[in-house]
């Protein structure tokens, strides 16, 4: 590869070797060493040492878990084939010999090892993980290749076109839209193109505050490496530990701190993508152009159907001088939403502002680690007394907003005051930095919790939408109620957890996240029930004026609604682009259209 030694700012750390499965679970979320379990005393513990919660005991979780789901620690459903993959259960690869031969001559690493292939055959949808836990594998890629740079990708795509091989780009593997599933009807050899080795920051331009980065870099590495030079991108999706820059571009990702830094479409200055027709990129890095429809918008959200994103020039910012968490308790969800709306109207949203509903507040509470000192627990008791007794908040209605402020110290404090003043108008009480920080920490461990639930007959998932302000309350109420009703109708024996939070604010609306989980004891086909309920919930979202997706993307999971979402003509436009760029459907993951 033609990179100049001097221009390399940093190289990603050890983690993302070719064999990712050595440090990550192949049938669950995240690192192998980090997981929740119930110890002999029935207390929940989180293992490992990577997170703040690691090594701590969470005393409240068991009660919450049992009372919310009607689950019991006596009824276990451990993964059947954990932790080692049984490679004989995987279909032998269908190889295109000519392609393999030519590819081998280029020296690009490749593998048809069952473990490598299975690891890249899925994202993190519930049905995908559930099947893996049961040791069931559908169609998996026949081969994995690890290009090292843009030129490697160009070679691979050329060969794929030449030999008519199906390519599926693979970044962090955190998709929740069935985007990585191999189409079962695909008869050609499927090659998973793993971008993880393209993980360098190629240059940093401090005059223009941009960085040119290879698209395989994972969020946490990008941030850490930039931090070493005193910069950050500020793009922090909840999956940033594992998701890649190329994946963000391909799905139109959104970060928690988008209020300050913007979403991926605001951050990207320049993109390079390899398509079957050649490489697409713009000729300059002008901050804005009027040159017809922006071709970047064919790339962003293309979900791997047009090509492989290889390099991205992104905006960077100096690292913030000061960060401060915060939280506000509201007497009810309605007041909380009204406050968020007002904050958005005044355009004074902090880097992040999120509003959890009552169920989620209780959930967050259950995840409080054991407090070490009597003083802290006394203080907590006092707080609770103040809010529920003195202020008269109903513990079954109150909800909490978590805040994150960033910037220079003085401005942060000023900003903080402004936001708390608005909150006070809506009955909000400041509830401390600790609650806020714990709220954000939870976003990283919540995916681990799903694995715990799956050990005890509980399955669940989250999904998101964006919706105009005037419909936020209605959509939250209706979708939650619809989930509960559908569960009842579909024969779920226990009442489900159906909860939501508002995670982003915009001028004209908000992003809403729903969490949904239930105890499936007594159901013969829980995943099917789950899918039916999720389907109904999505219909409800659309009927209430919500969008098909705010940032998860469409994949194959939500394809059926695309036509209604973007109209017949819109579909035709996208199809004609696909037909031109990739007439032989080399990028054949069949997402989106």
């Amino acid at each position: 590869c033609g990179r100049q030694p001097g221009s390399i700012v940093g190289v990603s750390n050890h983690i993302w070797q070719i064999k990712r499965q050595e440090i990550m679970k192949w049938n669950g979320w995240g690192y192998s060493d980090s997981r929740f379990f119930f110890n002999k005393k029935g207390q929940a513990e989180f293992t490992g040492r990577r997170y703040r919660l690691s090594g701590l005991i969470i005393p409240g979780l068991k009660d919450w878990f049992e009372s919310t789901f009607g689950a019991s620690l006596q009824h276990k459903t451990p993964a059947t084939v954990s932790p080692i993959l049984n490679s004989s259960a995987v279909q032998p690869p269908t190889l295109n010999e000519a392609f393999v031969e030519e590819l081998k001559s280029t020296g690009i690493p490749l593998s048809h090892d069952a473990e490598d292939r299975v690891f890249r055959a899925h994202g993190h949808c519930l049905h995908e993980i559930f099947a893996l836990r049961e040791g069931k594998f559908g169609r998996v890629p026949d081969m994995v290749v690890w290009p090292n740079c843009h030129n490697d990708v160009v070679k691979i795509v050329e060969l794929a076109c030449k030999h008519n091989v199906c390519l599926i780009p693979y970044g962090g593997g955190t998709s929740v839209s069935s985007a990585l599933e191999c189409p079962p009807e695909e008869t050609r050899s499927i090659v998973s193109l793993d971008t993880s080795q393209m993980n360098r920051i190629l240059w940093i331009d401090e005059k223009n505050l941009t960085a040119h980065v290879e698209a395989g870099i994972v969020g946490q590495d990008l941030e850490r490496l930039l931090n070493e030079s005193g910069y950050c991108t500020g793009h922090e999706p909840d999956s940033m530990e594992f998701s890649s820059l190329g994946g963000w571009v391909a799905t139109r990702a959104s970060g928690m701190k988008k209020n300050v830094y913007g979403n991926i479409e605001d951050l990207v200055v320049h993109v390079k993508m390899v398509t079957p027709q050649g490489v697409i990129e713009k000729s300059c890095q002008g901050p804005r152009m009027s040159t017809g429809p922006d071709v970047h918008h064919f790339i962003m959200g293309s979900e791997g159907t047009l090509g492989v994103v290889t390099e991205v020039t992104m905006k960077i910012r100096p690292m913030p001088e000061y960060q401060k968490y915060g939280s506000v308790v509201f007497p009810n969800f309605e007041q909380g939403v009204a406050c968020l709306r007002e904050v958005a109207r005044q355009r004074c949203a902090p880097a992040s502002i999120r509003l959890m509903d009552n169920e989620q507040f209780k959930f967050g509470h259950a995840l409080k680690p054991q407090v070490s000192s009597i003083f802290t627990s006394f203080l907590d008791g006092l707080k609770k007394f103040y809010i529920t007794k003195f202020k008269g908040f109903d513990p079954n209605r109150l909800c909490v907003a978590t805040l994150l402020f960033e910037g220079d110290r003085e401005k942060v404090l000023q900003h903080e005051k402004q936001v708390y003043d608005i909150a006070a108008k809506f009955g909000g009480l400041a509830a401390g930095e600790d609650n806020g920080q714990r709220g954000y920490m939870l976003t990283f461990v919540i995916a681990y919790l799903r694995d715990l639930g799956m050990d005890y007959y509980v399955i669940g998932e989250s999904f998101e939408t964006s919706v105009p302000w005037d419909r936020v309350l209605d959509i939250c109420r209706n979708v939650k109620a619809r989930i509960i009703r559908e569960c009842k109708d579909k024969g779920v024996q226990f009442s489900p957890l159906s909860t939501c939070r508002v995670t982003q604010t915009y001028d004209a609306g908000a992003c809403v996240y729903f969490y949904f989980a239930f105890n499936y004891r007594g159901l013969s086909d829980p995943v099917h029930v789950y899918e039916q309920v999720e389907h109904a919930a999505r219909e409800e979202i659309l009927a209430n004026g919500g969008s098909l997706s705010h940032h998860h993307g469409v994949g194959k999971l939500r394809k059926e609604w695309m036509r209604d979402t973007i109209s017949k003509v819109g579909m035709g436009m996208l199809k004609s682009v696909k037909d031109y760029v990739d007439p032989n459907n080399i990028f054949g993951n069949r997402n989106l259209l």
Binding site: D470, I475, R477, N478, A543, G545, D564
Partner: protein, 769 residues
Amino acid sequence: MQIRHYVINYAHISVNISFASSRLSGACRVLWVLWVLKVLCLVLSAVHEPSVPEVTVGHGAARSRCRRSFRNVQPRLVASERKRGERKTPAGEMSGSFRDPVVLRSDDEDLVDVLEERRHGSDLGFTFRTFSPPSCPAPSVSSSDLRQSVLDSLFLRHVAKEVAVETGSPLEMVMGDARSILEEMSQNLQLGFIRLMAFTLTKVFKKLFRSIFINMDGLNTLQQAVQENPVVLMPNHRSYVDFLIISYILFAFDLPVPVIAAGIPLAGMKIVGEILRRSGAFFIRRSIGSDKLYWAVLSEYVRTIIRKEFAPFEFYVEGLRSRTLKSLTPKLGMMHMVLEPFFKGEVFDITLVPISVSYDRVLEESLLAHELLGVPKPRESTAGLLKATRILQEDFGSMFVNFGCPLSVRSLCEGRIDRCRFNLRPRHVPQQPSADVQACVSWLAHLVVRLQEEGSVIGPWSLMCCQLLQNPVHVLTGDGLDWQQLSDGTVWSRRLAVDCGARLSWSGSVSDPDVMTSAAALHRSVVQRRRGRVYLLQGEEPERRRPIGSEDGVMRTAAAVLMLASYRNQALHVFVRPAMLAAALNVTRSRRREQLLGFFCFLQDVFSHEFIFVPGRSTQDFEEACFYLKKCGAVNIDDQEVTVPDSGLEVLSFLQKLLQPFIDSYQVVFRFFCEDGPQVFSEKQLLPAVRQFATKLILSGELHTYEALSSDTQKNVLSALRRLQAVTKLRASEQNEYKVNREAVRRTADVLAGKIPPQMLQATPDARL
């Protein structure tokens, strides 16, 4: 404990009263003071009265016994709708989807007599009982908060701005108008007045009725429903008495008391109007016409009540009291307002509860008959109400209130409404309801009325009237009908009714002759039994100076006949579908199913305003008719043909005779249009003219049914003709003028007479909102 309650409630009431009195004029104030004194006395005396234990104890067992989730209870009609697609044979279809008819007896343990407790317990104990309904989904809202949120609504502001621009008056003035409309309209529900209402009604009901039966399981499902979603109570309206009966029952059984939509004339009654307002009634003007602001205030008020979910909402989907005791074609305006919050996603679901109120004897029976003959309805006034107290001396038998299965609007609308259509406009911007919304509202409204019909209870007297009216009127007034013949016929038709799925109130514990004797005795104002024969009594002498002419004689007979017809109408919904098939068999003289179905559908078009047919269910209705006729052995049915065995002739003739008065009356009006009537007319001119025309025909012996004189029938013919586009409304006309297409009317008349086969008649969907 008990005493403390009294004191608290007393304080509550007196506060209300002093507030109210400040708003009333001098004369009323005196009355108020008297009232206050009386209440004071009552309260004081109450303290000494032996306290009554928990009044609901008696029902506790029943309540827990019948507790079940309401969503699992699918009404028959809906269930059958669902299963329709899967089934092939009509017989299997019908038997599977319609629950076996049950004869409900008044001693059935499922039915509870509300008055039973009251006759034994203390009325004051009842009045001042602890009232703790299960909480509604939302906290309570005071009437002034409710008004304020209506005034603050974006919708009202939007319309007010439009009105301001249109009329050129300043916005503040328009909002001021809106405020006064709202004040005129607004309810002011207060527990103290509910208690007063409960006390008064207990006294009145005990005088009027032997018992008030309600179905406990219906009430139990309702109790579940009020805790989940906004509930809309939809009773039928047969008498002024049932105006507060629902509130009364809900109070008695610890359920939240509803807000009720009422006609503005009630508000005009001195004191009573205010009491009604404080018992939860809100008042709507009768003719709103094109008053945009009024519509806006009203619809926002209704929607806000639904959205806030603080109390059930009660309204009469039929729009007004039925003068004929037959269900009326539902009015869709209010129905649409009620459903809109669901369509727009402002509530998760709405629960509709069809409620059927049936009477052994209706208080206003003779007033209603006279109204149908053109005697104007007396204005609602307190003086009139006091005068009417003489009826307290009379016996009106029993009253039946049946709470139907709650219906989930969400489930019913599935696949009928595309809620996404509201995504692209702010929801407060007024929008013409689209065709699918209109059709859905109309369908739901009809469905509810049909379920009201199914839930209503048919007494022996209704069946006796069916039998009586099978005979020519001159026989009934002249020689009279043999009692034995009548009672045999009634017992025979009782079996038929049961076969057709009726709910009867015919106690099995009393012998059949006794039941009928007692029914006849209850209605001695209409019929008289002398020496083994039954005679129809002519109406009272109208107070007139002029000598009685032959036309007056017709009117007097007509009044009596219409009273009989009303009670017959109570049972008609059971027979109407089989009867239409019977008529089809008779008129077309055909056996082919297709042809019969064609004529059946034609009859549904013609009688679209006479009887309730759920839109889009013609084929199912036909299958239902076939099924019932087959069940009672009147016809044999195979894939192609419907044949009549000799043994079926009796049933068919009975059914056909039930429908004949309607067919004859319609033919008279058709004839009037074709021969006599003007080309252009207004509704005001039409009714007396047709009445005169029909009177002439009766006197000349050409017409035998007196029902042609009923203004209700005449109006229904007009509506049907408009629907068939044989009569069109003149656009330019301000006085509701219509133009007749004589050719089209003649054609319709010929089809009805069987002279020409029914063509594809142009019928526009009737979904004006």
